[in-house]
């Protein structure tokens, strides 16, 4: 990898980042809705007051000025962004950086474990199914992949809560840790956090597992039919060697790109699954921000997601030549 390649990649990273953030900024601010109106509905229901009073109360509590031109907001947003400041939330009157910093560790914790598990199991099951294509194992993997891919994570989350949580009492039905625990680096707290994370991890893993499993199987099946694989078999190489070096590795390459993108999107949380488990991740903040039209918070979360996706893609592009000799030679 030479310096020119690196510079080219970095330049395209920043161009894409600016373009994606600009488009997102415009789209987010074009969404219909008034933050005061959304907040007023909350007040009306919770405090038993008329809509007029609730709207007045909401308007008074917000520092949002709807008359400020979009271009002024745009300059403010990018001006703050270059200083590492994501702005101030309309809903909480707090720094968006702080809000995200409080929620994102929980999301990264469950999302990264689930991503790792689903990727490992998906690759393992998919490649085995491809190697034994036509067998019962292959049919089972294929069928279960089709079934699982049609289950969104929040449906799995509901099923887990009802069966494993309510009926059998194996997993907790919500929260990040028991309410009587004080956070600390001790075994009781760590096991409690892990215990509470089981439901969200399984729910998120199931959704992703099918994608990796079917993707790996399909990639591997097409590679098995390549001449170089037949040639390797004719050379008398062991099946395990062919499966590992000639099939699995090239079949894995497209999945690595998909994994990188998933790593980026992981920062957006899983809004519905987090809601079902009352998990204090970024997904909850995202849903709240969207529902109340908290534009700075929505943009803050999008900024984190877009940056993470692009960074992950950049890393893949930089690492790809090391994994794939064909790219290196090119």
């Amino acid at each position: 990898m030479d310096g020119k390649y690196l510079l080219k990649r970095l330049a395209s990273f920043f161009i894409f980042l600016w373009a994606a953030l600009t488009i997102t900024f415009i789209l987010v601010h074009l969404m219909p809705g008034d933050p005061a109106y959304m907040l007023a509905h909350q007040y009306m229901q919770n405090y038993g007051i008329s809509f007029e009073d609730a709207y007045q109360m909401a308007k008074a509590s917000l520092s949002w000025d709807p008359t400020k031109p979009l271009w002024v907001r745009y300059i403010e947003y990018f001006g703050n962004l270059v200083r590492g400041n994501l702005g101030t939330s309309i809903l909480y009157e707090q720094s968006v950086n702080q809000i995200i910093a409080k929620s994102i560790p929980w999301t990264i914790f469950v999302a990264s474990i689930s991503l790792l598990l689903s990727f490992m199991f998906g690759v393992y099951l998919g490649s085995n199914a491809a190697w034994r294509r036509g067998s019962k194992v292959d049919s089972a993997v294929f069928f279960s992949g089709i079934v699982l891919s049609s289950f969104p994570s929040f449906i799995v989350a509901i099923l887990l809560v009802i069966f494993l949580g309510v009926k059998f009492g194996i997993i907790p039905i919500g929260g990040a840790y028991s309410e009587d625990l004080v956070p600390g680096f001790n075994l009781r707290f760590i096991t409690d956090v892990l215990y509470h994370a089981i439901g969200p991890i399984i729910a998120l893993s199931v959704e992703r597992l099918a994608g990796y499993m079917l993707g790996m199987r399909n990639n591997a099946v097409s590679i098995i039919q390549e001449d170089f694989v037949n040639f390797a078999a004719m050379r008398g190489l062991k099946d395990s060697t062919i499966a590992k070096k000639y099939v699995r590795r090239p079949a894995l390459l497209p999945l690595i790109t998909s994994l990188a993108i998933s790593l980026g999107f992981m920062f957006g949380g899983a809004t519905l699954a987090e809601s079902v488990f009352r998990y204090p991740g970024i997904g909850y903040q995202y849903a709240q921000a969207l529902g109340t039209r908290d534009y700075p918070l929505i943009m803050g979360i999008f900024t984190v997601i877009i940056t993470a996706v692009l960074l992950a893609t950049l890393v893949v592009e930089l690492v790809y030549p090391l994994i794939d000799p064909r790219v290196r030679e090119k």
Binding site: Y47, G48, Y124
Partner: protein
């Protein structure tokens, strides 16, 4: 080989998680060692002894600890605790702050809380605070605190601007002087809102001078707007500038973070997390000695699914999610201690008409629509726990019908049962015709074509709108459902951009009194009147002569004699029923699930009027039961 090792590692990780689940889910005895140092003085010599107390605690995850009550709710997070910041104080509103009194709409009973007595005379109301009322930091709640709270409310939220001044008679007595007579709804509002005791002067005093200045300007503006005049621009500009100055400084204050959250009510927040909020008893609360519940745990109401799961698992003791019938049965089957009560939510769902359009100015068409709707069926499909408003359209909420309207009066009103034949008959006699295509046409030959607008984020409204569309289509109107995003719904309706729409009709929120509902429908500033543009300022023929609904609403607000109030309600009910500004189709009920006997006990019987305290502040009902000692841990 390596692959097998990776697989083994993955399996180990999953096994660890599952094992972790198994280990932690079962109640495990925990040994807690507490070391207490005791210093005693024996014959003038201090002697220090160390006493080691070892106690074993067995956690019980599904049963609350003694004296705990668990519900679901919402609050802004990160938590600030400032009532003037967005999101306000969340679920702490009713748990931590106390109104002068509670008003029970179903019985008309007043329950003194922060106030021990009050007296209304014309334009004044004198309120005597209870002598033992204290803030959670131990300071007395005084007349000065009430004056501060009203000033902030007038300044920031522009509410209660009809109050010209609040005078301190003595430390525990305040006098409200109003620019107009203190009407029944205003009396209910002033006495039953906890906003009067959430701004302690010793905490918020630094902003009081600015708030007083702003409140004065806002009252001046109100003196113009209440007469229907426009306030001078200098005044409104000055108000806006002062408000932004006050907000800039006040909104930096985060009482929770600065350890300055002071409560006037029964509970004070102890822990605030994104997923759970824990309250403990206010150590200076006047009724603390009666309370059997010392802790309230509120789990985040992140979604109805989460709340249903918590009810099934017995993780919460009460909650009120709108729940489908089959799921309700499932909850009660899985947790036999759960009971369901459905008091009125003090509001009904209605089909409202846009009177700006000539089509809906025809009473015959509105009557035909009322007859063509099978309102019971709409109730069944949209909100099974509701009460169908399937006979009248008088806009007195069904639950309170017999309280306000005699059966003799009801018999005189036109009844609108589901009767498509009658609807057709009315249209035909008014010159409408039904074409070969099956559509009704107006007397001037146009197809009767309109939309039913509905906000897309209220699933029960959407179901109702689709059912209404279907029924009206079957009858022969060309109708479509028009989904509108919640964020723009109110704005578009107020701007008249609709034909018919689903809305809350007669909502008695905040007061539980019919005047609130009629003010909403006929009042000059009423939301539904603004939406429908119904000519409520014109006179309508009635058996009592020509009457103007807007004037009747005003009289009802000022009238205090119960018999005269009933007579006024009858007049407004007559105009509503016979001139159909809207067609109500169901009375919304709150579905309150509560655990009776499993974890807590002492709930009132299901027909107790106390349940009518729930709408618009269910936590206040819980607070009442807890602070009177009625609600207690089971077993």
């Amino acid at each position: 080989m390596k692959n097998r090792i990776y697989s083994l590692l993955a399996i180990c990780l999953v096994a660890f998680l599952v094992l972790g689940a198994g280990c932690v889910s079962k109640p495990t005895p925990t040994t807690t060692t507490t070391t207490t140092v005791i210093t005693k003085t024996v014959s003038g010599t201090p002697i220090t002894t160390t006493k080691v107390i070892t106690e074993t605690i067995t956690p019980t995850p599904t049963k609350p600890k003694i004296g705990e009550f668990r519900i679901a709710g919402g609050w802004p997070f990160p938590y600030h605790g400032n009532p003037f910041l967005p999101g306000s104080v969340g679920v702490a509103f009713w748990l931590s702050f106390e109104p002068f009194a509670y008003y029970v709409p179903a019985s008309g009973e007043w329950i003194p809380r922060l106030a021990e007595s009050w007296k209304v005379e014309g334009n004044t109301m004198i309120v005597k605070l209870r002598a033992d009322a204290k803030w959670s930091d131990g300071k007395d709640i005084t007349a000065d605190d009430i004056i501060t709270a009203v000033t902030f409310e007038q300044a920031i939220n522009k509410r209660w601007l009809y109050i010209e001044k609040v005078e301190k008679i003595d430390d525990k007595t305040v006098k409200f002087v109003s620019s107009e007579a203190i009407t029944i709804p205003r009396m209910i509002e002033l006495l039953t809102r906890p906003e009067v005791s959430r701004v302690p002067k010793h905490i918020y005093g630094q902003w009081l001078p600015k708030a007083e200045e702003l409140a004065k300007i806002n009252r001046e503006i109100y003196s113009y707007t209440s007469k229907g005049e426009e306030a001078p621009k200098e005044l409104t500009d000055k108000s806006a500038n002062l408000l932004s100055e006050l907000k800039e400084s006040l909104q930096k204050f985060k009482p929770w973070e600065e350890n300055k959250f002071v409560a006037s009510g029964a509970f004070v927040p102890k822990t605030v997390r994104q997923d759970v909020m824990v309250f403990e008893v206010n150590p200076h609360y006047w009724a603390k000695d009666k309370m059997n519940i010392q802790k309230v745990t509120v789990y985040r109401w992140s979604s109805n699914d989460a709340v249903w799961a918590m009810l099934m698992a017995g993780k919460i003791d009460a909650s009120h999610p709108a729940t489908p019938k089959d799921l309700t049965d499932q909850i009660m089957k899985l947790n036999p201690n759960i009971k369901l009560v459905t008091p009125s939510d003090l509001g009904d769902f209605a089909l409202v008409f846009n009177f700006r359009e000539p089509l809906f100015q025809d009473i015959n068409l509105r009557k035909a629509i009322a007859y063509a709707l099978d309102r019971k069926k709409i109730r069944d499909v949209a909100y099974w726990a509701a009460a169908a408003e399937d006979v009248y359209a008088h806009n007195v909420i069904k639950t309170y019908e017999s309280k306000w309207l005699s059966s003799e009066f009801l018999n005189k009103l036109t009844k609108y049962p589901y009767n498509p034949e009658k609807a057709a008959e009315i249209l035909e006699s008014a010159g409408y015709t039904k074409g070969a295509d099956g559509f009704w046409r107006t007397p001037d030959g146009k197809i009767v074509e309109f939309t039913v607008a509905v906000r897309s984020d209220y699933s029960d409204w959407v179901i109702a709108a689709k059912e209404i569309t279907q029924q009206l289509k079957s009858f022969g109107f060309k109708v479509e459902t028009e989904l509108m995003p919640g964020q723009v719904y109110g704005g578009r309706l107020r701007g008249g951009e609709f034909d018919t729409a689903i809305e809350f009709g007669a909502a008695w929120w905040g007061t539980g009194d019919p005047v609130t509902g009629y003010d909403r429908i006929f009042g000059e500033q009423g939301y539904i009147r603004k939406v429908t543009a119904f000519p409520a300022d014109k006179s309508f023929d009635t058996p009592w002569g020509a009457l103007v609904p807007q004037q009747l609403v005003r009289q009802l607000a000022l009238e205090t004699d119960p018999q005269k109030r009933k007579e006024l309600v009858e007049k407004l009910a007559y105009i509503s029923n016979e001139y159909l500004p809207l067609v109500p189709f169901l009375e919304k009920r709150i579905m309150i699930f509560y655990n009776d006997g499993g974890t807590v006990t002492g709930w009132p019987s299901q027909d107790d009027p106390l349940w009518s305290l729930c709408p618009g502040g269910i936590e206040r009902f819980y607070v009442y039961l807890i602070t009177t000692g009625q609600l207690k841990p089971a077993g």
